[in-house]
Amino acid sequence: MTHVPTPGAVSRPQSGNLSMLARHIAFGLFAVLIYLGPAPGQIFGSHSPWLREWVMFSGVGVGIPNGRFVVRHEDGAETMHTPLEAADIEQYPLILHYLFENRIFATEHFAHFAAPLCATAPETSSVRFEGSVGTRQGWQALKIENICASSEGKKP
């Protein structure tokens, strides 16, 4: 037959003993780390890999254009393309957003994003972007002319 001690007979903290003191100190240190750990990074911008910040999904959509790419042909006619059409993709890939190489952080990155469009647009045409790009501070309105001529579309 098994012996089952009463609940009160086990694990009841013994006042004044060393293990209780250690537990109280550990709990206090953990509590401080839990509540104040994110503060340096999130309030003062002093980031550390050892102090977890809780900024989930805050970077998703950063560097993604929202607007239209316009191809102006030699005869003055214009054709509109969505960002997905310009990048020649059906959707943004279901990968970690920061692994998407075509994100835009500078105007010269537009050429890289819209490289498929630039490759098919007639040499005598010009391509511009009208819209905005995602940043941590919201959408940044932009109008960029001659995207394809701005650079070779290479990202550093």
Binding site: M1, T2, H3, V4, P5, T6, P7, A9, V10, S11, R12, P13, M20, R23, H24, A26, F27, G28, F30, A31, I34, Y35, G37, P38, Q42, I43, P49, R52, E53, W54, V55, M56, F57, S58, V60, G61, V62, I64, N66, T82, P83, L84, I89, E90, Q91, Y92, L94, L96, H97, L99, G134, R136, Q137, G138, W139
Partner: protein
């Protein structure tokens, strides 16, 4: 209420917490399962390219399975947490697989470590079963729970700081949510959600209010039931609408830490021993 009484109540609730152990045992089983779901395919032996990776994978599975079954439960869940933090640290150093240093991995690892500070092996465990089978002294399903309280504090802090991160014009206006949706839904069926900027702004404000509310309410007896309902609804919505990996599922599992352990014990007894 004076400061001395408040401190005494806090100590009784926190570092001195004891009680029935079925809730923390269920969390142990859930977290070990979650770890296997999250990392199984990435650290399994078939994916190893070096001997070190093979060793790492074996260590991970040994601790994960031991924690799942409750073999030396407190030790194994703690070692599983440390192994998850090893993966987290490897990615911080530029090694391993992308995503290992994400918030959901940190949450999984720290929860396993905190669970080590509970008697999570006294219920639903191999340890208990072997003690019963061998006729040895069986420890009661009652023990220390201060790790459970740390998990509750971690959840509260997480809600608070993520709300702080959202407390700016860009989020409240709906722009940041729109960016997330543009990335996630462009060219997909749910692209229709992008049609109404007003709806996005309302959704953003709702999320912000709810997260500040949860940061406070999950720790109060008075609002806990409401907070649990709202919190589970929010995480279910996140899980269905965004590619959040194991984050939402882990958070929903951790809501066990907010329940009264006595109530969980009574509930499980009622359904197991009608």
């Amino acid at each position: 209420m004076n400061a001395g009484v408040m401190l005494r109540d806090f100590v009784a609730w926190g570092p001195d917490a004891t009680g029935p152990t079925r809730a923390v045992a269920l969390m142990r089983i859930g977290l070990a399962t979650m770890a296997i779901v999250r990392f199984g395919a990435e650290v399994a032996p078939f994916a190893a390219e070096t001997f070190s990776e093979l060793l790492l994978g074996l260590v991970f599975f040994i601790f994960a399975i031991a924690a799942l079954l409750g073999v030396r439960a407190r030790l194994s869940i703690g070692l599983l947490g440390l192994t998850i933090f090893l993966l987290y640290g490897m990615r911080q150093a530029g090694l391993g697989t992308a995503g290992w240093n994400h918030h959901h991995v940190y949450l999984l690892g720290i929860s396993c470590i905190f669970l080590m500070f509970t008697d999570c092996g006294r219920s639903y465990s191999f340890d208990r079963w072997t003690a019963i089978q061998s006729g040895n002294r069986v420890l009661p399903e009652h023990g220390i729970l201060w790790g459970q309280r740390l998990i509750a504090l971690q959840m509260s802090a997480l809600y608070f700081w993520t709300a702080v991160d959202k407390s700016d014009q860009a989020f409240i206006s709906g722009q940041r949510l729109e960016q997330i949706f543009v990335w996630s839904y462009s060219g997909r069926t749910l692209e229709i959600l992008l049609a109404s900027p007003m709806l996005l702004a309302l959704m953003s404000c709702a999320v912000l209010v709810v997260e500040y509310f949860l940061a406070y309410a999950i720790l109060t007896r008075r609002h806990r039931a409401t907070a649990i309902f709202i919190g589970l609804s929010m995480h279910s919505t996140f899980y269905l609408l965004l590619p959040v990996s194991t984050y939402s599922a882990t958070m929903m599992l951790l809501y066990l830490a907010l329940l009264d352990p006595q109530s969980v014990q009574k509930f499980t007894k009622r359904i197991q021993e009608p």
